[in-house]
């Protein structure tokens, strides 16, 4: 798993989180960026 | 010398910078006209209430008006006699048990104070026992119950039943989204109101009746 990091650091931490958490998605930056954006929206709104 | 007709107008028009300018002028002059300024602000708030009833102003405007009124009191307070405007009576106001909404209640609070009525505001999610105890301890006869959720009607009923069970001489007005004529019959309230202006008017009538 490696060392821990600040997921919220933008854009580096967010990108790193995409790599770690979104490996179930196709290896397509656009797809993963959109999914991460949806997570951001969900976290803001709920 | 501050122009109080202008103050009424700017308050009614919700012009914050102009309101602050005039009030600071009053305080710079020594504050001897603080009460007259407060009266003018209250008259301006009456305008706001009227415009809301007429459909010119909306909830956002009422919230902003409340904010301006709070600022006005903060500026004038040091110079007001006894720190407060003279009161035409005291009412108890709260959002009933199970309901956390307070925007409507706070708007009504500001309007009542603007009309010179002292408000004992118990806040939100207020159990019937707290309303009974406060009314009893402070000798309050006019009770204003607010709520937005449909469950508020049940809480209003419980509160009114608790007041009656205690044998208190009170009049109760209920207000908020779920409230209508049917809710008055269901809860045992004396009146209902949708607009803050009606709440103020009914409160004034009841306070006057109890005072005489």
């Amino acid at each position: 798993m490696g060392e821990e990091y600040n997921v919220l650091e933008y854009p580096e931490g967010v990108k790193r989180a995409e790599k770690e958490f979104l490996d179930f998605l196709p290896d397509d930056e656009t797809v993963r960026d959109l999914f991460m954006n949806d997570i951001l929206q969900w976290l803001i709104q709920w | 010398m501050a122009d109080f007709n202008e103050l009424v107008q700017v308050m009614g028009d919700l012009e914050e910078d102009e309101m602050i300018r005039i009030l600071e002028e009053v305080m710079a002059d020594g504050g001897s006209q603080a009460q007259a300024a407060m009266d003018a602000c209250q008259a301006g708030m009456n305008q706001v209430g009227k415009l809301f009833e007429e459909g010119e102003y909306f909830v956002g405007d009422l919230i902003y008006a409340g904010e301006l009124m709070t600022q006005a009191v903060d500026i004038l307070k040091p110079a007001l006699v006894g720190g407060e405007a003279s009161s035409s009576g005291k009412v108890l106001l709260c959002t009933v048990a199970g309901d956390l909404h307070d925007i409507g209640k706070n708007i009504v609070h500001a309007m009542l104070e603007a009309a010179g009525i002292e408000v004992v505001d118990l806040g939100i999610d207020v159990k019937p026992e707290a309303v009974v105890q406060t009314a009893k301890e402070q000798g309050i006869h006019v009770i204003l119950l607010s709520g937005v959720l449909t469950l508020a009607v049940d809480s209003m009923k419980a509160t009114i039943e608790a007041l009656k069970a205690e044998g208190l001489d009170v009049k109760v007005l209920i207000g908020g989204a779920p409230v209508n004529e049917e809710a008055v019959a269901l809860t045992g309230a004396d009146e209902w109101a949708f607009s803050p202006q009606k709440t103020v008017k009914v409160s004034q009538e009841w306070l006057s009746a109890y005072a005489s």
């Binding site: 958490f21 976290l43 709920w46 | 919700l14 909830v59 919230i63 469950l151 269901l186």
Partner: protein, 398 residues
């Protein structure tokens, strides 16, 4: 459980029927029942509210019981409004308060965004939201090694998504429809002004902002729209044309934050999102179900712009008869009251249902039955009343 293929056929025909009511393009074989049913489902199943919210199996069981007991076309809320097991991992940012006695869940006015944050949001919205806003809302994320906590959050978030899928399948197994396409061109309330109102500034602060700093509000809305609403629209516009056959509607905008606006402010801050929705509806042949909390009458001049035969509207507090008259371009939904549903008799409920259908459906039956209020609390509904309505609606075929 009933024959699965029969239920799948029922789901499909109900979905198409719902579309036909809105579009007028095909025959309407029954009046759709839009179940505006919220936490009452868990009460009816006999669970304590917190019990249902904190255990997905119990939540799922309650929803299954509901579908079985009350056959209807759409069960609107299928657990998606219950995020607390996920947000609880990060410290319950929205400060949800569950009251088991009142059977209510509430949140206080949320205002994590400070006055001075407008400039930062406008300059770089994603940077501001990730780096500054989220740790204000979820204090657990303030620490620099928050990947530990974020990992736990992702587990719960994906679990929640999985559960929503399972419950969706459960609801389908009773012939109930999938309601709104989650990948449609517009989200429920995922655009700038609603986000500012509901979560970032709150009702009090935003009411003041609209007067004190209107230009910043407009710029903040634009920044948030460029982050969320516009990419979603672009995704939606790139998708195939035509209404998604698996869902009743393609977009389900929810109006919450309009309550503080006058018409001029609505035009400036709110209408741009509707312009996006209208664009998608017209150009991609999509259907829209607009859900309005509170009332909306002062904005009906704007609603005249909704393209004909694409919009259905459910309003909590507007008079459904007035709305039908004022907006012939739209299909109305609603009219049953929580008062009657909770405190009336079955006969009274059926009588009102009949009247609503006759008055609002017209000869082409283009009306959707529902309550205006979100049915949440014990006295909002009685079992026998809802069953009487479901039986009555189920008996009408055209």
């Amino acid at each position: 459980m009933a024959d699965m293929s029969k239920m799948e056929e029922l789901r499909k025909s109900r979905t198409q029927n719902f579309k036909n009511v809105i579009s007028g393009k095909g025959p309407v074989d029954h009046i759709p029942h839009f179940g505006n049913m919220w936490s009452w489902k868990y009460y009816d199943a006999g669970y304590k509210f917190s019990e249902a919210l904190l255990d997905y199996n119990k939540m799922s069981d309650a929803i299954g019981q509901f579908c079985q007991r009350y056959p209807m076309d759409v069960v609107y809320e299928t657990g998606w409004r219950n995020p607390i097991q996920v947000t609880g991992i990060l410290g319950n940012g929205n400060d949800y308060i569950i009251d088991d006695d009142a059977y209510s869940i509430s949140i206080r006015d949320q205002s994590y965004m400070e006055d001075g944050d407008y400039e930062k949001l406008i300059a770089n919205p994603k940077k501001y939201l990730w780096e500054e806003f989220l740790p204000k809302k979820f204090s657990v994320l303030k620490n620099q090694n928050n990947s530990v906590d974020f990992r736990k959050f992702m587990e719960k978030y994906l679990e929640f998504g999985g559960k929503m899928g399972e419950i969706g399948a459960l609801v389908n197994s009773y012939g109930c429809c999938n309601f709104a396409d989650p990948n449609g061109p517009a989200d429920y309330w995922g655009f700038g002004y609603e986000i500012l109102f509901c979560i970032m500034r709150g009702i009090r602060k935003l009411s003041v902002d609209l007067r004190r700093r209107p230009e910043q509000v407009a710029a903040a809305c634009q920044a948030l729209d460029e982050t969320f609403a516009i990419p979603r629209l672009e995704r939606g516009m790139a998708a195939p044309e035509g209404s998604n056959p698996d869902y009743c509607v393609d977009m389900n905008p929810v109006m919450l934050a309009h309550i503080i606006l006058n018409p001029k402010q609505f035009e400036r801050y709110y209408w741009p999102q509707f312009e996006r929705i209208i664009k998608a509806a017209k150009e991609k042949d999509k259907l829209v179900f607009l859900f309005i909390e509170g009332e909306s009458k002062r904005f009906w001049d704007f609603f005249q712009e909704f393209p004909k035969d694409r919009f259905a509207i459910l309003s909590e507090l507007d008079d459904v008869y007035e709305m039908k008259k004022a907006l012939p371009n739209c299909v109305v939904c609603g009219g049953m009251t929580a008062d009657l549903l909770g405190r009336g008799t079955p006969e009274q409920c059926v009588d009102l249902t009949r009247k609503l259908i006759e008055d609002l459906g017209g000869s082409d039956h283009r009306y959707i039955f529902s309550t205006g209020k979100m049915i949440s609390f014990p006295n909002d509904c009685s079992r026998e009343n809802l069953q009487a309505i479901c039986n009555y609606l189920g008996s009408i075929h055209y």
